[in-house]
Amino acid sequence: MLLLSYLRMKLLTHNMLTSHVKGVTKGYPLLIKATEVKLTDVDFNSEFVSRMIPKIEWSVLVEAADTLGHLNDLPRDLPPDYESSEDFLRKVHHVLLEVEVLEGNLKCPESGREFPITKGVPNMLLNEDEV
């Protein structure tokens, strides 16, 4: 039996995705509705996580993790000295890279347009009339 594994959408990806529907001024953040979520194992790199934190929208990450039911005990506010806390960085690592959405959709907060996630790949293509 051939086991095919596909890429899955990570919360890190979700953190950056924006709706580009015409007329929408703020198509971010997209609301996640997941029908299939999977946990995976990714090698922990503290420096990488440390560097990514300032680049992401923290509240969006927390919200997304919560929606998927994987918030656990991740704080809603960024602690000031997060670089030095390995425990904290590991929690961030988990939520950012190890919680994956296989099936579901991403909803534009303004237009309501739903972008499907199939086999882990979000489809952000717009139709003719949406461009």
Partner: protein, 509 residues
């Protein structure tokens, strides 16, 4: 001083236009010294460290150098010519050959021990990556030929150049002893020739000739199908080179990429030009099968790589590639269009893209009509200070400079403007610099801190574009004042050439 610590002379073949990048790479990765390069070749001295050597990304193949001569005048008489060539190729110094063969053996032994280490670690903990992470040492795709196992069942990749290499049959039968060590090497000669000498002989003849001479001179045995090592002879109008390939397969053939799109050497160079720092986000908005992302992710373990493409079938192949390279954690694929990049403004640190115009793209629209939108989107999502690296066909390069150039490149070193007809490339006399893209700083003329706008730009663009392609249809002229062109490199893509454009996003005042 042990063999492995001594600096040894190597040379690499490289695609035209990539030589300076390879030169910078060997200096940075191998601490190579005495780096020189010319058309298609890079010479350097470095320690014998097969793991590190196998990490070279801008090279086609790597060889231990036996001999490097300037081309010589060969007598027309076939007999005399044969004698002359044999004499010159083999030369007077026998130890030059035997020393290099020993070095080659050393290389193979080192590789074997690394392979054992990787195998053992994989058995212990399949998930844990060995320190020599990305060297693929699996027997099925072995980069090396183990000395004990004469595993030449697959012929090595044949380079597609003029004067194709050919294998010869000859016979020698005595074993010879080198340095007291019983050595009966089975070898074959692979010859490539071009220019003057190619008019006199073909590669096959030359290979045969040299093979016979080597076998006779050293008492070694030639073996067509299953040799232990190969002797490569490159005879051109620039050099006469003799070397032994360090690896069976070309370095350019990546073990970690299942299906390539763009040539990995070019993809790597583009990622290199993007100058990605730790913790960066790199985007390829037309990623196709993901070659650029794979090369970038292989090089930098500490950044995020995003690829978008409109094609489901391409993304499927990209998946497989990412999966088989084990880069699931690093590369994120999204189905989307480069005309509506689904990312926030200024959210990406670098954009690297092979613009596939003219090939497979949205067929219905005139591709060039989409160009302004795509460039605008790229400009939008790129952070200030970020780099945009594009690979373009020659006509597209001219088109972009003519219609969207917001700034002209000035200074020497790179012919400006670059047209489809010009044979410009990076100045080949530049000595390789040190790591961290320092080389680039030397070569790229530093841009003056000015911003050109609208009218002035267009007028300037019309004025400075020399010759080149015929006038294109009247397209709306757009300007992207925050994207400053700071370099154009011409590289060979095999049958055609490509132009790499590098832009930096600047803050407009």
């Amino acid at each position: 001083m042990s063999e492995a610590d001594r600096a040894v002379r190597f040379f690499c073949t490289a695609g035209r236009g990539l030589e300076p990048f390879l030169a910078a790479e060997v200096a940075a990765k191998l601490s190579a010294v005495d780096v020189e390069y010319g058309t298609g070749k890079v010479f350097f001295s470095a320690n014998v460290n097969p793991e590190k050597l196998s990490q070279l990304k801008a090279a086609e193949r790597l060889f231990l150098l036996i001999k490097k001569e300037s081309p010589m005048k060969v007598p027309w008489n076939t007999g005399k010519a044969r004698h002359f060539i044999q004499k010159k190729i083999i030369g007077e110094d026998r130890t030059l050959w035997t020393d290099t063969i020993l070095l080659w053996h050393k290389c193979q032994n080192l590789l074997q021990s690394v392979q054992r280490c990787v195998k053992r670690k994989r058995e212990e903990d399949p998930r844990e990556e060995c320190a020599t992470k990305r060297v693929n040492l699996e027997p099925s795709q072995s980069l090396m030929f183990p000395v004990s196992c004469r595993n030449w069942s697959k012929t090595p990749e044949v380079e597609q150049q003029d004067g194709e290499d050919e294998l010869h049959k000859a016979c020698g039968d005595s074993n010879s002893s080198v340095n007291g060590q019983q050595m009966s090497p089975l070898f074959r000669v692979s010859c490539r020739c071009s220019g003057r000498i190619a008019r006199m002989f073909n590669a096959q003849e030359l290979g045969r000739m040299i093979g016979t001479a080597v076998a006779k001179h050293f008492g070694w045995k030639t073996e067509l199908r299953d040799p232990e090592f190969e002797i490569n002879v490159h005879l051109s109008d620039v050099y006469w080179l003799v070397g032994i390939p360090v690896f069976r397969l070309p370095l350019a053939q990546r073990s970690y990429i299942k299906t390539t799109g763009l040539r990995p050497t070019i993809a790597w160079t583009m990622a290199f030009l993007a100058d990605i720092k730790a913790g960066s986000v790199l985007l390829d908005p037309m990623c196709g099968v993901g070659t650029i992302l794979l090369e970038a992710a292989e090089e930098r373990q500490d950044s995020v790589f995003i690829g978008t493409d409109i094609s489901e079938s391409q993304l499927k192949v990209a998946h497989q590639n990412v999966e088989s390279a084990g880069l699931n954690g690093k590369i994120n694929l999204i189905r989307g269009s480069a005309t509506e990049i689904p990312l926030q403004p200024a959210s990406v640190d670098a954009i690297v893209c092979d613009l596939p115009f003219g090939r497979k793209f949205k067929c219905k629209t005139d591709i060039r009509m989409l160009l302004p939108t795509i460039l605008k989107e790229m400009e939008r999502v790129l952070r200030v200070g970020g780099n945009l690296v594009l690979l373009l066909s020659p006509p597209l390069s001219v088109h972009i400079q003519k219609h969207f150039g917001s700034d002209r490149m000035v200074g020497s070193g790179i012919t400006s403007p670059v047209t489809a007809d010009s044979s410009s490339s990076v100045d080949t006399n530049t000595q390789a610099g040190s790591a961290d893209g320092k080389l680039l700083q030397q070569e790229i003329p530093r841009r003056r801190n000015e911003v050109a706008h609208g009218e002035a730009t267009r007028a300037h663009a019309e004025h400075t574009v020399a010759g080149g392609s015929s006038p294109s249809p009247a397209l709306p002229l757009a300007d992207f004042p925050s994207l400053q062109l700071n370099a154009i490199y011409r590289v060979s893509l095999g049958l055609t050439d490509g132009l790499i454009h590098r832009y930096k996003k600047v803050l407009l005042t």
